[in-house]
Symmetry: C2
Subunit: 1013 residues, 2 copies
């Protein structure tokens, strides 16, 4: 084997590679940027219509990635190789894979994967869809189709390829740490950079002067704005300062000086700057009349829309189509779909494909939908060769209008006939809809299936919708990821439909491992044979079972059992089309880390399965699933082992840093972590939680010991936010709190409550179990809700930066799940008292309404709209009871006996609701029998109804009143009385009686919301 | 011809070239640096003993080089390609020239020159010696041997090669402007960078917020220091901030916000930071035990001295040497010597070589010294083949001690004999020095010439001293530039002496144009034949005449005459060894610029000769002198024409900017230009000059109109300092002032006075001619002198940052040149009154003494020491009269009649100078004839002497007194009198008479300073 390339060799090879492919070779920017994207050669050049292809190295400065040189591949500076291709060349993934070959990475010997990773830079107002590229589990490249930058929608889109040079060279040279990499001429990476790394970490984490650098941020923001305020604006100088601000922010952040809300503010400032710069740049290019625009590209002067002449597709050539029912297969070839999008697409096609065939009047035996990350399949068995013919009768004008006295068609008839492609003479008269009409009997000849499909298949592809979709080329279509080929075979023949500038054919592509070779297939059978040949398991369920079998076997091989994780299995199934599981090992020493840390790292970062022994303890192994066959598996394994080692060593770095202090020690650090500017720091929040948890615990009836636990846990609940581990992996908040609490000598109950207070994290998640946990969970969410609403931070549209909807949902879930009835108005009042800001009555009401809103949404999923409103109308302040009442009411309203009850109650309500006086009942003053009977019945009901009756109680109490009420309201002839009697006293007494009846239902539900009220 | 390389191709080729030669390929730094030197890969790595070879691109940000994109090759950002070779590989120039070949620059087709350029970065505390490399007159590379960085002496030294990529590619692609360069793949440099250039210029020159950025400078300086204050110091983070400070300073400077003294302060701050960082880095590498040190390099732990084993030189092999007188030639082969150093070396060798041969007792016919930038030659005709033998008689102990009574040698004799390499028996007795002694007659056999030369030649080379010399390799020797070969031939035979790790041989090197090929020569004749073959004219005088002839002919060809410039001719003669003059043209439009601007640019920047027509107007041509033959002269010419076009267009940019405003408008800008912190701005100085010029003009007796001129001109004298042109080319100060004054409608007299006030710029320079010019010139210099001395800024040793010595000289030259007699004490008093600070009497006296000091130096060049002191003793306050008196006195003291005159006067002085009383003369009281005769003579003298007699007047008046004085002092026997008579009255009267005589000479000279007084 020849000596692997050095770091500098790799750079020079990549430069040469991309220069040969038409790129400009650019240089790193002269100010610190977090990524090559920040270089104006990317951020600005991707804007506007002009093409641009560029490649360059960028030393990317990310202070908070610093690990004092202790981590084998995580550093505060790493080197990116950045490529921008604008527009999309059509095969950027393949070019990219060729570039890997150019630096000695043979895809046959590795597991190269495109793993969903949607890129977003809030500071730059930019986002795109794409992937991380994994080399044996190691992220080596970020591959993104830019959709937006500086707040501007991009057209054309740019492909951004960002190589992580160190990781690539690590793999190439097979060394264990970036510091061991040969930079060039036998000189090591560590010789060049290790000392700098250590020192910069110390500077960023320990030394940087926070107050002074904040000032510089302000000054530089001012410089950026003043450069933009020139006429014309100075775009590039302004942008330099945006980058400088961004770096300063990163330094401040790394020093731990910036809280969540303050961070949001800084981001807003940077985003606003970036957007202004982007807009000014776009304007400038327009003013310069787009000097780089190719002659055949045209920008509309008014709309700014770009038109690019597209190559004509060849003439449609059809072959010989089946004349008997035959199989049909559609393959939509894509770049790697995200796991969730693959599921969504399969589900949609499951509905769309049969519906389409139905609409097309095409018969078939069965439809099967399948898919892998690279392809979506619709397979139709026994598809009829053509539509059946049909006769359609179209109703025309009435016969008396269509025909004159002599039976001759009038002008109206002629017009109608013409509209239906007939002559007036061809019209018929028919009796229908109770009259005689002129009708056109239109015969639709059944068209051949291929013709129909050519018309309809484009709409089938277009109809597949995704949560997030993207554009990539001039065809203007959008999809989850770029569609790169279409195959449509009706038995042996192509159905050459056009979509997005492509034409369907008989060419599929093989597996990534093989270089995705184009394969022409003879027929549908040949198509499936081709997939088989590549080991591609197109059916998701079959694939899942294959994987499940493989990983279970490997777990056994490792003398353990799989740590079951269905969600992970589902995801992994969607990440491969040619699955081969492999077992990897890591050093036992890492087992000293808390289990959740290890599994979080394995799952979230690597999609590895964990293996445990019978005691439920983790074993020092992992199972990865390769997308490819089992050749060179050792090389893939060793790569993956390298990666997990680096990941774990990263986690250990945080852990060891963290346990230098007791959990309580982190409280003071919370003072520098702003929760929200007006609402103070997380420390302030902790203080509030401590007091609220006690009061809420009391309300929940906790015992004294539990109350103590709640108070202590509330104090510590947020402390882990200041630990390195949680700063790094937010999903471990609470989990680390528990872990560190135990290590710090807190009681198990306190530790549990700390962990639980984040639950439920989402709908369906586990609820806090312990009383203290519940108390803090409620306190925390109410505190956020009330405080943030009071300072005007209500979520808008889809934006809910503080997760208030989730907070409200959580409150609701806890109360409902634990059947806790309480008056939220009281709690909100308490919370309001503790806030740093004044919380008005309106704000409190808004908070209540906000929670009720979540409850409303939830209840309506299962319950009739009017019923939900009725329950909430009475009990919005007590979600649990509201839900109980809604449930009962929903059943009651379906009962046969319900209408009279509702009617009786409604009559009482309707006649009394305009009265402003509450009348006094004088039972003895009643004279009429219907009156006395009703008084008697009401008294009885009042006696039997309890303090807070639920719906069922109410109904059972009220049901006997229905008859007396009906009698009371009956016409005078039938013994009824007139409530609005002329005699004022009589009238008052009757109203008093009805008011008493209405009172029976108060607090049960707002029956007036019900249909039929 | 194939397509020339693109900009990116050049970069990639250079990367590959240097990577193959063992360099690490590095990346640009992530913060704005003014040059690749700022990258820590240079600034820090050149420190300490570890080797380091690196190459990288560096976008170099120099705000004040911005020209709004108007200049064809001057921009606020340009791209450098930086190479560091540590240690010197021995042939860095040749490797460099190979690298040019690698990017398509054939040295045969161009004029590639190494032109002295000593690099210094005060901000980085760094300096080195080296060259600009010129490609057809265009500077394309900076080539430097680093001597010091961060205030540390470097060992080993580093070779720094900094390519100016744009200029190289301009030449390669043959385009007219950097913006037209093809960057790569048909994409133009201007497409990438022109807009950014324009905008950044606007930002730097017009928009940057000065106050805010000053604050950032302070903050960043603080960050730098606080990073260094850590234990151990954080070197690299600290250094990042040094660079950021440096860039901020550049921005402030470009905004014109920094005055001269403030600049000095900023530099001091940056230099101090850089020195601290450098020291900390050196310390750190030591602590890390120099990880990159090769195993055979050794650093002494205590002294830090580096020892590197050097390859042994081969055994000395001598050939057959002449036995008859024969020619000898020594060639010291060097990298290009600076012009002045070549002169100095020739002058030194002219003395050293004969002296050495004399010391060596070697006879010869003649010695000729010659030299070119690449070689120093000593040619000896008829050098004897060996020393003559000689007998030396060494005197020993007296015979009576050396020999015992029996005549046998004693122990003393034996010791003496041994010391002289004889036996006691060989001692002789000789009469000498008035006694008999034992003597050793030692016979020194004449040694062969080659043997003697091998011993002595190293000391000859070592004895050549330069103003600035440098080290370059481990031999530790120093020279003006590296010595790369030694040739020493005695007729046909090599004299293989060793120096600086080299051994002299028979190999010389050919011309640069030919690649400096090594040429072995057979004998001295062959050596000169080789030089001839390469067209190398070794003799400086012959070369000068050749050039003079060529350029005169070309001037004629251009239908003009050469604008004579002897200094330039001298310099050019020393820049080439193979001269070929060529005529180039430039656009006539540039002739619209003032002549001095054009000639300054041509001479100072390009060493071009100017050509003028009969009216003395410049023609649009220039004459350059190529180092090489006349092949491909067109390509060289076209390159040179390109360069001068860019230079002129640069000058035009300044000029056009400047003439947007009247000269007087620049006055207010002077307020921001600090003259000296305590002495205020240049505006303040202008105000002072205005008032002083009036008073001094009055003193000089200017007419009213002249006075008005002087006052107006004084006000405007400094205004041009704020213009772009003068900021850029300081040597044009005054010249531009005149030009702009005329354009602004000032009178010709005012304009002239402005220009003149800077004269004389040096000894021998023209003096101001007009009265106003003289007045301002004096005022300006006195103002600087008095003010700066008052605030303690007297020059020290060789450091005279404010040029006070030159100012004092100027005052003296003007007064002497224009024969102006005035009392400087009065002027100094006036100047003192106008200063912002108080000027003490001592400071005023110091100022006077400072000027007198310059006068003393000047007078002593031609005049006897005692005479000068005598003149200054009386007239230091009036330099003109002092010089006149010194001149006259110098003649008088040489006259035969002088001694009696001096003696007579001296007797009078000596006897009276201890008297504190001035006695009253009573003439009638004298009795003795010698008394009355003397009184009579004195009366006569007093009558004929004028108010301020000069020396001649004094002598002619005093001469007749000599005889009566002699008679007066004669012994009583001869009729003389005793001055100190017992009678008090007699004594007093005699003393009074003598005091009157002494008075005659007061203010003429301090005769007591004279020898023989």
């Amino acid at each position: 084997m020849s000596k692997p390339l050095s770091f500098q060799d790799v750079i020079m090879r990549l430069q040469a590679f991309w220069a040969e492919r038409g790129c400009i070779i650019w240089q790193p920017y002269y100010t610190q940027v977090g990524a090559g994207t920040g270089n104006p050669a990317t951020f600005l050049r991707v804007l506007g219509p002009e093409p641009w292809s560029v490649a360059y190295v960028e030393p990317s400065v990310r202070p908070d990635d610093g690990r004092y040189g202790d981590n084998p591949n995580r550093m505060q500076v790493h080197y990116q190789f950045q490529v921008i291709l604008k527009p999309d060349p059509g095969n950027p993934q393949e070019i990219y894979l060729d570039s890997l070959a150019a630096i000695g990475i043979d895809r046959r010997e590795h597991d190269i994967r495109f793993v969903e990773d949607n890129w977003e830079s809030p500071a730059l107002g930019a986002w795109g869809l794409g992937w991380e590229v994994w080399l044996d589990g190691q992220e080596i490249t970020q591959f993104t189709y830019f959709q937006q930058a500086g707040g501007q929608v991009l057209n054309p889109n740019s492909v951004e390829i960002t190589y992580g040079l160190e990781r690539i060279v690590l793999a190439l040279q097979g060394v264990d740490s970036v510091w061991e990499i040969e930079w060039g001429n036998d000189f090591k990476y560590g010789d060049a950079l290790l000392q700098s790394e250590i020192e910069h970490c110390r500077y960023y984490f320990e030394v940087a002067n926070v107050d002074a650098l904040r000032k510089v941020f302000d000054i530089y923001e001012g410089e950026s704005l003043s450069a933009l305020a020139q006429e014309p604006p100075l775009v590039l100088p302004s942008y330099d300062y945006v980058l400088k601000c961004s770096h300063l922010f990163n330094v401040l952040d790394t020093r731990g000086a910036i809280g969540v809300v303050e961070r949001a503010n800084y981001f807003k400032r940077m985003q606003s700057l970036a957007a202004k710069v982007a807009a000014a740049y776009a304007e400038q290019r327009k003013r310069l009349e787009y000097p780089l625009l190719p002659p055949d590209w045209h920008v509309d002067e008014e709309t700014g829309a770009l038109t690019v002449a597209q190559p004509e597709l060849p003439e449609v050539l059809t072959g010989k189509y089946p004349t008997q029912p035959a199989p049909f297969v559609l393959e939509i070839g894509v770049e790697e779909l995200p796991a969730a999008d693959l599921d969504a697409a399969i589900a949609e096609l499951d509905e769309l494909a049969p519906a389409l065939l139905g609409r097309a009047r095409l018969t078939y035996d069965s439809v099967v939908v399948a898919g892998t990350p690279r392809r979506l399949l619709v397979y139709v068995e026994g598809l009829a060769p053509q539509q059946p013919s049909e006769e359609v009768v179209v109703k025309g004008p009435p016969a008396r209008i269509a025909f004159d006295a002599k039976g001759k068609p009038t002008g109206a008839a002629e017009g109608f006939a013409r509209k239906n492609g007939l002559t007036a003479a061809q019209l018929e008269r028919r009796e229908m809809d109770g009259g005689e009409y002129a009708v056109a009997v239109v015969r639709n000849e059944g068209r051949p299936t291929p013709e129909v499909l050519m018309e309809l298949l484009p709409s089938l592809v277009a109809a597949i919708k995704f949560d997030k979709s993207m554009r990539w080329n001039f065809a203007g279509i959008s999809f989850s990821r770029p569609v790169r080929w279409l195959l449509a075979l009706y038995d042996k023949a192509v159905v050459p439909f056009d979509y997005g500038g492509m034409r369907a054919g008989r060419t599929t592509r093989g597996a990534r491992l093989e270089g995705s070779p184009q394969v022409e297939v003879k027929d549908t059978e040949g198509y499936f044979a081709a997939l088989d040949r590549f080991g591609i398991i197109a059916d998701k369920y079959a694939r899942r079972e294959t994987i499940a079998g493989q990983i279970a076997a490997l777990a056994k091989e490792a003398k353990g059992t799989l740590k079951q994780d269905d969600a992970l299995l589902e995801e992994v199934t969607n990440l491969v089309e040619q699955p081969t599981a492999l077992l990897g090992h890591f050093e036992e020493e890492f087992l000293a880390l808390p289990g959740p840390v290890l599994t979080t790292v394995m799952k979230k970062h690597q999609r590895y399965f964990a293996v445990e022994n019978k005691k439920g303890e983790l074993l020092p192994v992992f199972i990865a699933v390769r997308n490819g066959d089992d050749e060179h598996l050792d090389s893939v394994r060793s790569g993956n082992e390298h990666v997990i080692r680096a990941r774990f060593s990263d986690a250990r770095f945080f852990y060891n840093e963290d346990i230098q202090h007791k959990l309580a020690d982190y409280l003071s650090k919370l003072k520098t972590l702003t929760f929200q500017e007006q609402l103070g720091s997380y420390y302030d929040k902790s203080v509030r939680l401590e007091s609220l948890a006690g009061r809420i615990g009391g309300l929940l009836g906790l015992a004294d010991a539990e109350l103590d636990t709640a108070i202590r846990a509330a104090r510590l609940a947020k402390a882990d936010l200041a630990t390195h581990m949680v700063v790094e992996m937010t999903s471990l908040q609470g989990v680390m709190g528990r872990e560190y609490a135990l290590r710090s000598g807190e009681t198990a109950a306190v530790a549990q409550a700390i962990a639980e207070h984040y639950q439920p994290k989402s709908a369906g998640d586990a609820l806090p179990e312990s009383g203290p946990g519940i108390a803090i969970a409620l306190a925390d969410r109410l505190d956020s809700l009330v405080g943030l609403l009071a300072v005007g931070m209500a979520p808008t549209g889809s934006a809910d930066p503080f997760g208030l909807r989730r907070a409200a949902s959580g409150i609701m879930q806890i109360l409902l799940g634990h059947r806790i009835s309480l008056d939220l108005r009281q709690l909100i009042g308490w919370v309001a008292e503790t806030q740093e800001v004044e919380v008005s009555a309106e704000a409190q009401a808004a908070a209540l309404e906000f929670i009720a809103g979540r409850l409303r949404v939830t209840l309506k999923e299962t319950t009739r709209h009017d019923v939900v409103e009725a329950a909430l109308g009475a009990l919005a302040y007590d979600p649990y009871r509201a839900s109980v009442h809604a449930g009962q009411l929903a059943q009651q309203v379906e009962r046969a006996g319900w209408p009279p009850i509702l009617d009786a109650y409604a009559r009482c309500v309707r006649i009394t609701r305009s009265q402003e006086t509450e009348f006094k009942l004088k039972p003895d003053a009643f004279k009429e029998p219907v009156e006395t009977a009703l008084v008697e019945a009401v008294r009885k009901a009042e006696k039997s109804i309890g303090g807070e009756p639920d719906v069922d109680q109410f109904v059972s109490v009220f049901a006997p009143l229905a008859a007396p009420i009906a009698a009371f309201f009956a016409p005078a002839a039938e013994g009824g009385v007139m409530v609005m009697d002329k005699d004022k006293a009589v009238r008052a007494n009757r109203l008093a009686l009805l008011q008493r009846i209405v009172k029976l239902g108060e607090g049960v539900a707002d029956f007036s919301q019900l249909e039929g009220f």
